[in-house]
């Protein structure tokens, strides 16, 4: 535990004013765990973030004390569950700055949200000759759903290229964003590079040609205070488990007019108004897109996560995360053979890199043995890996609860990697 206490001390020293890191960390019991006999250094937050006690308790309290189905029963418990479920939706609405709670559809996650738009919005509308514009840094979950639409409709997929530093190359945007573009789907923040994309600029150009804009916000929501109004997104998708909430829950924001005009994707209970064998009329949004019993406890957990996020001092969080990014970038430059992938001007706190002559998985394993959790893979972004000419990268992704001491542990771990593979 000596090492832990050293880390805790450093935490307090390096925390910017306004952010009590020791207290913040105490809300995440998992951060005190040990792996391979070493204190856990959790730097895989972009894969899934840890959950504060309040989120887990909200889920558990619901399941243990208030569990009932929503929108079904006349009994008190069901009404309480319905109210709690609706409150969670309202939390997400407030968090995003959406106008109406009915613009928030609960989904299983970002992937399900994107597929919903692909199948319900794009597929019935697109025709041969239409184009879907993606970017070269998309996660597979923002590529494959559009390929399915393209195959079904004859639409064509075009791509905004990525520069060497990992930013979108907008120089040739007019060539790929044209009158034929019906939909633009892009990441708010790259899951590999951490690049924050200029969504507003692209959305304005897209809207000028009459295209609709979907933003994959999975990697943005834990780091950035999202303001839908300022962003100009028509659809915005994210996952609970990457924003300190539960797995199995996420959301799709959609402009009311767009959601209203979309046919349901999945049919079932809860999404209807009236059913006969001849005809069914559908419930209004968002229920129209939430067939079947939803993940109620998870939605309540997500509501708690959003409440928790909103309780943070965001200027302090942003300053702390910017400090972690700058410090990690600076320290990595001193490790021989380490090359950063993604050096955009606007980044959230993650670093992707390769180590000369050492495969990312071997880096990941040697770090793991020192208690350091990173992601080593193609990050479900194979086209981007090809762009950078690498099979994969090592990604250390930070959350608000990470510390400079943990960056130091990463650097020490990488020096050990160099030693093993000397």
């Amino acid at each position: 535990m000596t090492l832990s206490s050293t880390r805790d001390r450093t935490v307090v020293e390096s925390a910017p004013a306004g952010l009590d890191l020791a207290r913040l960390r105490s809300e995440f019991p998992i951060l005190r765990t040990r792996v391979h006999g070493k204190p856990l250094v959790y730097l895989d937050n972009a894969a899934t973030s840890q959950k504060p006690r309040t989120v887990v308790e909200a889920e558990a309290d619901f399941s243990l004390l208030e569990n009932a189905n929503v929108h079904r029963g006349v009994h008190a418990l069901s009404q309480r569950a319905t109210a709690a479920y609706d409150r969670a939706r309202e939390e997400v609405r407030t968090f995003l700055g959406a106008s109406h709670a009915s613009e928030i559809v609960f989904t299983a996650g970002t992937t399900a949200a994107i597929n919903l738009v692909a199948q319900s919005y794009a597929r019935p509308r697109l025709r041969s000759g239409d184009e879907i514009l993606l970017t070269g840094m998309e996660h597979h979950s923002n590529i494959v759903p559009w390929q399915l639409v393209a195959q079904a409709t004859g639409a064509r997929i075009r791509v905004i290229p990525v520069t060497g530093s990992g930013e979108l190359d907008l120089a040739g945007l007019n060539e790929v964003l044209t009158e034929r573009t019906r939909l633009v789907a892009l990441a708010h923040v790259s899951n590999v590079l951490g690049t924050v994309n200029p969504v507003r600029q692209i959305a304005d150009r897209a809207h000028a040609v009459g295209a609709t804009v979907l933003v994959d916000g999975a990697q943005a929501v834990p780091h950035i205070r999202v303001d839908l109004e300022a962003l100009g997104a028509d659809f915005y998708a994210a996952s609970g488990h990457k924003m300190f909430g539960p797995t199995g829950i996420g959301f799709l924001y959609g402009r009311a007019a767009l959601l209203d005009a979309m046919p349901p994707w999945q049919g079932g209970g809860g999404m209807i108004q009236n059913v006969t064998f001849e005809e069914t009329t559908y419930a209004p949004v968002p229920a129209k897109f939430e067939a079947g019993t939803p993940p109620i406890a998870q939605a309540i957990g997500l509501g708690a996560a959003v409440r928790w996020l909103r309780s943070l001092d965001w200027s302090a969080v942003e300053a702390h995360e910017a400090d972690l990014l700058a410090y990690a970038t600076e320290r990595l430059a001193d490790v021989p053979g380490v090359r950063l992938i993604g050096t955009a001007t606007e980044k959230v706190s993650m670093v992707s890199f390769v180590v000369d002559r050492v495969h990312p998985h071997d880096v990941g394993t040697v770090l793991d043995l020192q208690g350091i959790a990173v992601r080593a893979s193609h990050h479900c972004a194979q086209p981007l890996m090809r762009h950078f000419g690498v099979a994969g990268t090592v990604r250390a992704s930070f959350a608000a609860y990470n510390t400079r001491a943990e960056v130091n542990a990463l650097i020490d771990g990488l020096l050990e990697v160099r030693k093993v593979f000397a």
Binding site: H36, P360, H361, D362, T365, L369, A391, G392, V420
Partner: protein, 145 residues
């Protein structure tokens, strides 16, 4: 608690740095590819057969130290063996890396450097990728031949 040196033994590091039989093969009788979609590791194995015997074997590809060293050591372990002998080596190797028992006499002793893999379940596929490709090459006749 496992440590890095148990997994990355010097023989493995050596074969990773300088893999043996690392070349495409002209006029191969058989070939097969191994691909792990989870990590993107891919390699190709070529075989020349002399009746039932593996007269020559080579490989090429990209992957982690474990998969590359395993492929390299595999080529040195099965060259000159009959199909049945190679199959028995694989079975013994597989049992060892999956922790289902110690290696048998069928397995050349130098392959024991991979025994540490059993403590790393996610790396078992790396160690066996080339072996699965070899098996597939042995079982699938080349349609061109």
């Amino acid at each position: 608690m496992p440590d890095a040196s148990e997994l990355y033994q010097s023989v493995i590091l050596d074969h990773n740095r300088a893999p043996r039989n690392y070349r495409p093969m002209e006029g191969a009788d058989r070939q097969a590819e191994g691909y792990n979609p989870m990590c993107g590791d891919q390699l190709k194995v070529w075989l020349k057969l002399d009746g039932d015997r593996i007269a020559d074997v080579s490989f090429q590809g990209s992957g982690c130290a474990i998969s590359k060293a395993s492929a390299s050591l595999m080529t040195t372990a099965v060259k000159g063996k009959t199909r049945a002998e190679a199959q028995r080596v694989f079975e013994s190797f597989h049992r060892m890396v999956t922790g289902q028992g110690g290696p048998t006499d069928d397995m050349p002793a130098r392959l024991a450097v991979f025994a540490g893999v059993r403590a790393f379940p996610t790396r078992v596929k790396c160690a066996t990728l080339s072996w699965h490709a070899l098996k597939s090459a042995l079982e699938t006749p080349d349609p061109a031949k």
